[in-house]
């Protein structure tokens, strides 16, 4: 089944939450502050796809499930959602009032952290194609894409800073992000075994 599930369908399904959130906002189904609802939904899905992309390696290593062919789609979806989230922030939330947007991003820790996260995601998205992997070389590409680790930490920090007090939800996401990164520190199996597994 995994083998048959096409990558394009991941993109197709991946955009359903965005379309649903936008549609709900347009039709008044997302409550009295549809702008904030849309903004939050897009941010949440950006984070979810980022964490989903980070699940691929541990799943392969520890559960023997190989979803590698979907990883690029998950990572790109995270970037697209983050970009839409940012667009909602500048366009819908702040009516393209650049002075205020600039002030917000510089002065509010949550927005500054979000911006840092988005800036890290840009080079990752820009180098996601096969052509770019070839041009960079596998080693450089892998090194560059380690930026996804700080990006994930920034994303959950952004979430924590965006809310009042200490509600549970952002802490759960932070726990998930930290666990996914910690799994990468687990000692590698002996080289020969891994190579055998990959062959």
């Amino acid at each position: 089944m995994r083998r048959n599930f096409p990558v394009w369908a991941v993109y197709g399904l991946g955009f359903v939450p965005a379309v649903a959130a936008f549609g709900a906002g347009l039709s008044g189904l997302s409550g009295p502050d549809p702008i904030r609802a849309l903004e939050q939904s897009l941010g949440l899905w950006a984070l979810r796809f980022l964490l989903a992309a980070l699940c691929v390696t541990p799943l392969r290593r520890f559960a023997g499930v190989n979803l590698l062919r979907y990883r690029r789609a998950l990572g790109l979806l995270s970037f697209y959602y983050a970009a839409l989230h940012f667009l909602a922030f500048i366009g819908l939330d702040h009516n393209f009032d650049w002075a205020e947007i600039g002030r917000e991003i510089v002065k509010k820790p949550y927005a500054f952290i979000g911006m840092a996260c988005l800036l890290l995601l840009i080079p990752l998205a820009a180098t996601s194609s096969n052509g770019m992997i070839k041009r960079l070389g596998a080693k450089n590409w892998t090194r560059l894409h380690r930026l996804v680790y700080p990006a994930a930490l920034l994303a959950v920090a952004h979430f924590i800073f965006a809310v009042k007090s200490w509600p549970l939800e952002p802490l759960l996401y932070a726990g998930a992000a930290v666990s996914l990164l910690a799994l990468r520190l687990a000692p590698k199996k002996s080289r020969s075994l891994e190579q055998a597994g990959n062959a």
Binding site: G31, P32, E104, K108, Y110, K164, S165, L168
Partner: protein, 312 residues
């Protein structure tokens, strides 16, 4: 949305603006059906109560906005959680304690407490610290009336308020992690409390307060951020020193004691220069400029000589 029926509430229906008066002007249909049980006897042609000169003539938000989009962490952290969960709260019987530096401390049954008071309508802007605002037609009475009745002593300089703590009926108080060190606490300087704009509300849109809005009794201080408007009040204490208040206990650098609406003092999370009027303009709503003291300039004299940047 489930809204408890009004017959359960300690507000005399004769004292309330007829719902019909609102129905002429506003679309309150869905909620009205659930709320209007106590008003069958009111004639549809009844004249609207005269508008208080302290009311704004801006268009009030729809009842569904006011009752469906709430910060009331006793019932959860989501904006729609209070509407979903507050139905479990029993607001009758309700005891209000007034104590501290007063000559007549008392535990009142709320009905008795309200009996001598005249309810009036106050249409106020409400500015939330999160950068959004509403216009709400409250029904209430000046807090000054309640305080005077208890006869404050000269040493009394502040009023401290407390919300009910009843985790059995308030699911948010059982939640983990603890969002607020319960019970929710608020406070005002005595002169702020005695200001004619400051009211205790028992209703909105001519109906008893829905639980999610702070039934049966809540504070409304329209020139301060919404979190000052403590809900479901059980205790009012006159004190000599500035009392601790919940949000400034949680984040003293974010939430001050005064919490006056002030577009010039920024909050680390939300822009205070502008606000979005909830329920208007949908996805493409434009922001409004936030006004000093939320537009209630008459309170400025309360703060002459006070550095409002340091005392946010």
């Amino acid at each position: 949305m489930l809204i408890r029926v009004s017959t359960d509430r300690p507000v005399a229906s004769s004292e309330i603006t007829p719902r019909a008066a609102w129905l002429n002007r506003r679309d309150v249909l869905g909620a009205g059906a659930a709320l209007g049980l106590g008003f069958a006897g009111v004639s549809a042609t009844a004249a609207p109560t005269p508008r208080s000169p302290l009311s704004t003539d801006e268009k009030p938000n729809r009842l569904s906005d006011i009752t469906g989009y709430n910060n009331f962490y006793e019932f959860g952290v989501g904006k729609s959680d209070p509407a979903a969960n507050a139905g479990r709260l029993k607001t009758r019987p309700w005891t209000l304690r007034i104590d501290g530096l007063v000559d007549k401390p008392a535990d009142y049954a709320l009905e008795d407490f309200l009996k001598p008071l005249t309810l009036e309508e106050r249409i106020y802007r409400m500015r939330c610290v999160e950068g959004w605002s509403m216009v709400i037609p409250w029904l209430g009475f000046p807090l000054a009336d309640a305080i005077s009745r208890a006869q404050p002593q000269s040493a009394a300089k502040y009023v401290a308020f407390e919300t009910l703590y009843r985790p059995d009926e308030m699911s948010g108080q059982r939640g983990f992690p603890r969002i607020i060190p319960w019970p929710y606490r608020e406070g005002l300087r005595l002169d702020e409390a005695m200001h004619p704009l400051t009211i205790l509300a028992t209703g909105l849109y001519g109906e008893p307060l829905p639980n999610q809005n702070g039934a049966p009794l809540r504070l409304v201080v329209p020139w301060k951020y919404g979190f000052k408007g403590i809900k479901s009040i059980v205790r009012l204490t006159l004190v000599a020193e500035q009392p601790p208040t919940s949000w400034s206990m949680i984040g003293p650098d974010e939430y001050g004691f005064f919490a006056n609406v002030n577009p010039n003092v920024d909050h680390p999370r939300w822009s205070q220069a502008t606000e979005r009027r909830i329920g208007e303009g949908g996805l493409f709503a434009k922001r409004l400029k936030t006004q000093m003291f939320n537009g209630y300039d008459s309170v400025a004299s309360l703060y002459s000589g006070l550095d409002l940047r340091a005392n946010y």
